[in-house]
Point group: C2
Chain length 491, copies 2
């Protein structure tokens, strides 16, 4: 018996003691299943022999029931294939106790027993296929070393002895990857850490969630930039916290304002993106960092430093993260491997004191037991063999080149309209349009021409700012040219 | 410049106006970096030329500083390779203002600013490698069709047009997979659903978390079995809910007790594992299901039905899930793809009304933006091509065979000691040992012989019950024999 056959012995209730003949009961029961859409048109029924075995009835009884339904038009026989629910079902005169429409398995309840965030949009939710996608600032997955990763994965699958170790992984993630990451992060961010300082998460978002949930309670306050990564804001509010918004200018967040807030209130958390702030791509100046570190120490202000973009710098050495300076233990550091390999890969990390990471791992285990330990092990191998470092070097070179191509072309195509700066790092340009060129409308028109770009509508302030992030890193030269042409035509 | 070189221009502060010679300032600064473990033994410094460029100093200045440190023993030159931080660092007479130990980047703070769950264990957390792993009840990853999955993944990576569609995926998960799952779940569970009823999660645990978080508030009450899946209990308590425990016997959970609880209190949620309850593997009888459905409708009791194990039945047709009957919209259904392919694959699903799923997707997005959309698409292809169904059929056959081998061998090896039943489905045997044979001690002794089994210590009731889940599905015959031998030797 194929495992995917419906368990008919549970679905069909035959009362052998009833006055109604068994074959008739069976035929009625099958008819009901078809009417209620539990057996859909085209569904292949078990052979009469198989059904007889399942229901512990005579085969002749089954044959008789099937015959009945064939005559009535519910079932059809296809030569050499079998017996199927008919594609053209007969019209049924409604019986008073029967609903016209099939009962859906998950109807809406009278009253909601759950938390609601918003109303779903009406109408079709079909996804279009676009020829061109201008993303938020992601790497080009086409250059990622997937062959190496998957070959390693398959090798690990075969090695029996390994599965013993890997499935007893600690909640903080694959230990080989944590060791490699500790090494890599130490070297590149000047952090003094070991594997016990690292929690591996399935993406930086989960790291933000875990860290925030460890710190915030309903009524807590979080200091954020007035332009901020929207999913972070939503998350903090979902956890019951109130946002205190601080201005972001060309040198990053207004650190004097943060001090004032610390002086007068007692904020529970600061969420910061010091490198290539999201969405504006500005970087916190060195002078402000020093001030901020002083504030953090003096007021013992917990900080989540979201450093998703550190690995891509095109000019001078980057300014080091806050976490690498003396912050007294109040800064938690978040990074993303997704951002170095492919938007499809979900891997990030949270760095903190070993006690914090231990607690965070316990929390994470309740939300998501573990990641794909073999995938994590394969990524660790990428670091250990030097391939990841090679990939990063190649990526930086390539994306720098694409940045220049993109910005030069954007200059030519639309500099009289678009206001933007050539970014010193990261994978996106922050492009601000004048009021007359609504980004929402622009995105709509470009979608009509087959090019998808973020329409800025997820940024609630965009009626004021009218900007959009244009990710250049995953576009090859011909795609850049295509985008510019579409943009010119649209404007 | 290799991208992984430390950004020295940020780390070293040279004051050209100072009285101290620049080369001396540089030497002192480098010494401090080494003392504070920011430059670790074996670290290769940039060439004098590269360093000069970075710091905008004369090359002779760099050479002089390096010479100084070589003489003092901080650096060593390796012929034809370069200049490295010495592996044998000189002893430093402590200066009054300097700490003896290097400053760790993430020290413990005086007061915890975060939620703590427990104290970490002292001492080494090294993981051993085991020859044999008896898991909790997972499939054998060695028979999973990874070649097909990865080949598809790589094909999708190359197809440029696809990345446009895939990255605009809705929060509920890859739409192709949701369509295939809707189809598969409809056919096998007799559910009448479409893609809008499905939320894809990275594992069933995340599905439980999201569903629970949608429903529970601090002070809520959750009805659970007195023996229950421990990570579900921890999760509900973390969300601030109180557990009301109900007895589990050979026919499953005590449904009359549930009715009494509904009558006298107003519980907010029932968490149920009707098939192969965790850990005991008992299944809720058909009679109790009918009673329970009546209770659910009458009291409008929200239910999370965790059906992680439905796809593996070895005897008759399985009894259908609660979700397939008329529950009025109060049952949420959870399933696991991880349990059908490999413990490393993290894929599960939550099924509910389309409004619930919409809201749940919005919440999930805050916790984890999306899964690996290409992996989800590749799994969808597995369903669509019929390969997944083939794989399931092969698995059921194989695991049935292994169940029999395992149970026969266990009977021979230890039937006078171990109390267990041959399970009708699922991938584990629930083995109860008499008090004299503490499962914790047993697990410790077997670990000493290289065989890892769950030591039961995660089940807080185990001082009373003394049982352990023995996963047979991922053991081949020689591994089964090995386990039995080790067990016999240990007992």
């Amino acid at each position: 018996m194929a495992v995917q056959t419906l368990p008919f012995s549970s679905l069909l209730y035959i009362d052998k003691k009833s006055a109604t003949p068994v074959y008739r009961q069976l035929a009625d029961a099958l008819t009901n299943l078809i009417r209620n859409s539990k057996l859909k048109p085209g569904y292949q029924l078990p052979s009469s022999r198989a059904m007889a075995l399942m229901l512990e009835l005579n085969r002749t009884t089954i044959v008789a029931a099937y015959e009945e339904l064939k005559i009535q038009g519910w079932l059809e026989v296809i030569e050499r294939k079998g017996i199927f629910v008919s594609n053209k079902l007969p019209v049924v005169k409604p019986k008073p106790f029967q609903k016209e429409e099939p009962e859906k398995s998950f109807p809406e309840t009278e009253h909601y027993f759950y938390h609601r965030f918003s109303d779903p949009p009406k109408g079709s939710r079909e996804l279009k296929a676009y020829q061109l996608l201008i993303n938020d600032g992601y790497p080009d997955q086409r250059i990622a070393p997937f062959d190496m990763i998957f070959n390693r994965y398959k090798t690990l699958i075969r090695r029996t002895y390994l599965h013993g170790t890997l499935l007893t992984e600690q909640a903080a993630g694959n230990s080989f990857l944590r060791k490699e990451l500790a090494d890599f992060i130490s070297k590149t961010r000047a952090l003094d850490i070991g594997p016990d300082n690292i929690l591996i998460t399935q993406g930086a978002q989960l790291a933000i969630f875990i860290a925030a949930r460890m710190i915030l309670r309903p009524g807590s306050t979080v200091v954020v930039g007035d332009l901020n990564y929207i999913l972070a804001n939503r998350l903090f509010e979902e956890l019951g916290a109130k946002l205190i918004k601080v201005r972001i200018d060309d040198d990053g967040i207004d650190v004097d304002a943060i001090e004032e807030i610390c002086r007068t209130q007692k904020p529970d958390l600061l969420y910061l993106i010091p490198h290539h702030h999201h969405p504006t791509t500005v970087t916190l100046s060195g002078e402000r960092r020093i001030k901020l570190l002083d504030i953090i120490r003096r007021y013992k202000l917990p900080v989540i430093e979201d450093d998703y973009d550190y690995d891509f710098h095109y000019e001078n050495s980057p300014i080091l993260p806050l976490a690498s300076a003396a912050h007294g233990g109040y800064v938690l550091y978040i990074g993303s491997i997704s951002k170095t390999l492919s938007p499809t890969v979900r891997l990030g990390y949270l760095v903190g004191s070993s006690d914090f990471i231990w607690q965070a791992a316990k929390l994470k285990q309740m939300v998501d037991i573990r990641g794909d330990v073999l995938f994590e092990e394969s990524i660790a191998h990428l670091f250990n063999s030097g391939e990841m470092q090679k990939h990063l070097r190649r990526s930086v070179e390539l994306y720098k080149h694409r940045r220049d191509l993109f910005c030069d072309a954007l200059q030519i195509a639309a500099s009289d309209i678009v206001n933007f700066e050539r970014p010193k790092g990261g994978m996106a340009v922050w492009a601000v349009f004048p009021k007359e060129y609504s980004v929402t409308l622009l995105a709509e028109r470009m979608a009509g021409k087959g090019a998808f770009l973020s329409d800025g509508s997820i940024y609630p302030y965009n009626s004021r700012i009218n900007g959009v992030r244009l990710g250049f890193a995953s576009l090859n030269p011909s795609e850049i040219a295509q985008f510019m042409q579409t943009l010119k035509d649209t404007l």
